[in-house]
């Protein structure tokens, strides 16, 4: 029998959360004969506005649970609708993005279904019996743990940025409309005020990221990363240590407790490369590390490790970027 994976599609201002596309890409790679389907919960207007985007999903069927009561996300409501759907649809594997909403919707739904759930996975695969092997960092990124679940569907949330979106052929998903049972749901929160934060440009998958750590020695030196980035059109990032010292805002922190990034080139200036940092850059195509300490963990975990003074290198790059701009 065909094995199925179901992906929950989260919409944010009628746009598909990027992690959902990443999950669909990965799910299609889990097995050659896998059937990947998706489910979305929203009101009519949102579905209409996101129709084009949804039609590009590389899934066989897209189940649309549509009702005007879904015009804003409500955890308890969405969870009961979703668990009812899972009970009928019975996928073998169920995946959701570990977004802030996903991190509350998933456990509530798993609990309603009395099934296991593995949070915030950075890698997934299946064994010969189609059991999901869900791997996640644990203990602040010091260890990785591969978790299996004895209940179906095998359910996991996936960390944003953990997988790449492959540009595969579009499957032209079949849209299947589902009538929800939404009668009398009393566990709604009343939203008195809501300010949507300006969504910053997603920098985590830009082609070149230049990241700085303690090896830059001072905040002033760290700030030169911004200068260089604007000169050569790259994006700045920071290690946890740099953020904790107040050199950089947490938004640009890379690692287990920060962002996962997937640039073509990751340049680490004065970063020692603790395990929790390295988990965040697994998906970089190439890592170039500059550090004065040849024994720093990052020096044996990069593609290119250069023993040099990161602060001086940064300064030199700024000074010479003028002559390079045509090339870059």
């Amino acid at each position: 029998m065909t094995k199925t994976a179901l992906v929950y599609i989260e919409l944010n201002n009628s746009k598909i959360e990027k992690v959902c596309k990443e999950i669909v890409s990965k799910a299609n790679e889990l097995a050659s004969d896998i059937e990947v389907n998706a489910v979305v919960i929203a009101d009519k207007t949102t579905i209409r506005n996101s129709q084009q985007d949804l039609a590009l999903l590389n899934v066989k069927k897209l189940f649309i649970i549509e009702d005007n009561i879904f015009d804003s996300y409500q955890c308890c409501l969405f969870s009961s609708v979703l668990s009812a759907f899972i009970n009928k649809n019975k996928p073998d594997i169920f995946l959701m993005g570990a977004t802030e909403n996903g991190r509350e919707l998933a456990p509530r739904t798993a609990s309603a279904l009395n099934i296991g759930l593995t949070a915030d996975c950075t890698d997934i695969s299946v064994d010969e019996s189609f059991n999901l092997l869900a791997t996640r960092p644990t203990y602040g990124g010091k260890m990785m743990a591969t978790i299996i679940s004895e209940t179906r569907p095998n359910f996991a949330t996936i960390r944003p940025g953990a997988f790449k979106i492959e540009n595969t052929l579009v499957n032209n998903p079949e849209f299947v409309y589902i009538q929800p049972e939404t009668a009398g749901h009393e566990l709604l929160l009343e939203v008195l005020k809501c300010e949507t934060k300006q969504q910053e440009e997603d920098w985590t998958c830009s082609d070149v990221i230049i990241a700085g750590g303690l090896g830059l020695k001072t905040k002033e030196n760290f700030e030169k990363i911004y200068t260089l980035c604007s000169l050569i059109n790259a994006k700045p990032a920071a290690s946890r240590a740099a953020v904790e010292l107040g050199w950089a805002p947490s938004e640009i922190q890379v690692g287990q407790t920060g962002n996962s990034v997937s640039p073509k080139l990751y340049i680490a200036l004065g970063i020692s490369g603790a395990m929790q940092h390295m988990t965040g850059i697994t998906n970089a195509d190439k890592i170039v590390a500059v550090n004065t300490d040849r024994q720093a963990p990052i020096m044996s975990a990069s593609d290119i490790a250069i023993e040099s003074d990161a602060a001086a290198v940064l300064q030199s790059m700024i000074e010479h970027s003028g002559s390079k701009q045509a090339l870059l």
């Binding site: 955890c75 308890c76 802030e100 991190r103 509350e104 998933a106 456990p107 509530r108 798993a110 609990s111 009395n114 099934i115 296991g116 759930l117 593995t118 949070a119 644990t138 203990y139 602040g140 010091k142 260890m143 990785m144 743990a145 591969t146 978790i147 299996i148 004895e150 566990l187 709604l188 009343e190 939203v191 008195l192 005020k193 809501c194 300010e195 949507t196 934060k197 082609d207 070149v208 080139l265 340049i267 395990m275 390295m278 195509d285 190439k286 890592i287 500059v290 990069s302 593609d303 290119i304 490790a305 250069i306 023993e307 003074d309 290198v313 030199s316 790059m317 010479h320 390079k324 090339l327």
Partner: protein, 270 residues
């Protein structure tokens, strides 16, 4: 009637000293332990709720609960010293090796059997050892009550409803909800400190211990037995890159080298 608030706290191991059992779960006994920082945030909110309720002439009490080995009593004493009124320890060999589903079930049995008229449950968003953030939402579902996560402050509370601020990457919201309600908080840098009187009170307080029978738990739904997820393996991730090391490179030369790499990556892909 007393307005009952429950705070769920967890004793977490010092992550620098991890040992694994043969079941691939954490060997907790003998580990240096601390109170999970997010749970201190939960205690802070609970004490604030109690204070605000007292101002509106509603009598309130804060009940701290934890599940763990007998040594988890330590974090309960800390909670009492910080100002919680009562402390309850759920301890039983049968509770051990619980995943988040079994933990949530166990906590829900305690609340519904021992403190059934609890109106507000406050949890830390996540524990720093597992970082899953799953138990609070699962607990709310088991009790079939409303929930709100990512809470950063309490704005208003009375006998009928409460108003909270919620902060995520995508939005800032102010939400209102009646009771019962489960709140999980993102505050992980609370600096409430017990004072000397708190410590004295905590020393003298009685901590009640409940086993599985005492909270009426189904033995098949607790501990390892009630946990569908299992750690198949735990490992230090291997590095898959073949490193080329350049020793003692002059900064200017290194800068040049990196420019070449940037150029290469941009021409390769464009």
């Amino acid at each position: 009637m007393v307005f009952k608030i429950a705070v769920c706290i967890k004793q977490v191991p010092d992550t620098n000293d991890i040992k694994w059992t043969e079941n691939n779960t954490i060997q907790r006994e003998g580990l240096e332990s601390i109170i999970n920082p997010f749970d201190v945030g939960a205690i802070e909110l609970a004490l604030k709720a109690k204070k605000l309720l007292t101002h509106t002439d509603v009598q309130a009490e804060v009940n701290a609960v934890t599940m763990g080995p007998l040594q988890a009593e330590e974090v309960l004493r800390t909670a009492l010293a910080m100002g919680c009124d009562n402390a309850y320890l759920l301890s039983d060999k049968r509770f051990s090796a619980a995943d988040t589903l079994a933990t949530a079930y166990t906590l829900s049995c305690f609340i519904s059997n021992i403190l059934p008229d609890t109106k507000l449950i406050i949890c830390g968003q996540q524990a720093i050892d597992g970082d899953t953030a799953q138990t609070p939402s699962s607990l709310a579902q088991k009790l079939n009550i409303a929930q709100a996560t990512n809470i950063t402050s309490l704005e208003e509370i009375n006998n009928v409803y409460s108003i909270w601020s919620q902060e995520t990457r995508g939005f800032s919201r102010v939400i209102k909800s009646g009771f019962p309600l489960m709140i999980s908080t993102a505050i992980n840098n609370s600096n409430i400190q017990p004072d000397i009187n708190g410590y004295i009170k905590a020393q003298d307080s009685q901590i009640t211990v409940f086993d599985a029978s005492a909270i009426n738990a189904d033995f098949n739904k607790i501990g390892l037995k009630g946990s569908p997820t299992k750690v198949k393996k735990a490992f230090v991730p291997e590095i898959k890159r073949q490193t080329v090391l350049y020793e003692n490179m002059q900064p200017a030369q290194c800068a040049e080298f990196i420019f070449e790499e940037i150029e290469k990556c941009r021409t390769d892909y464009d």
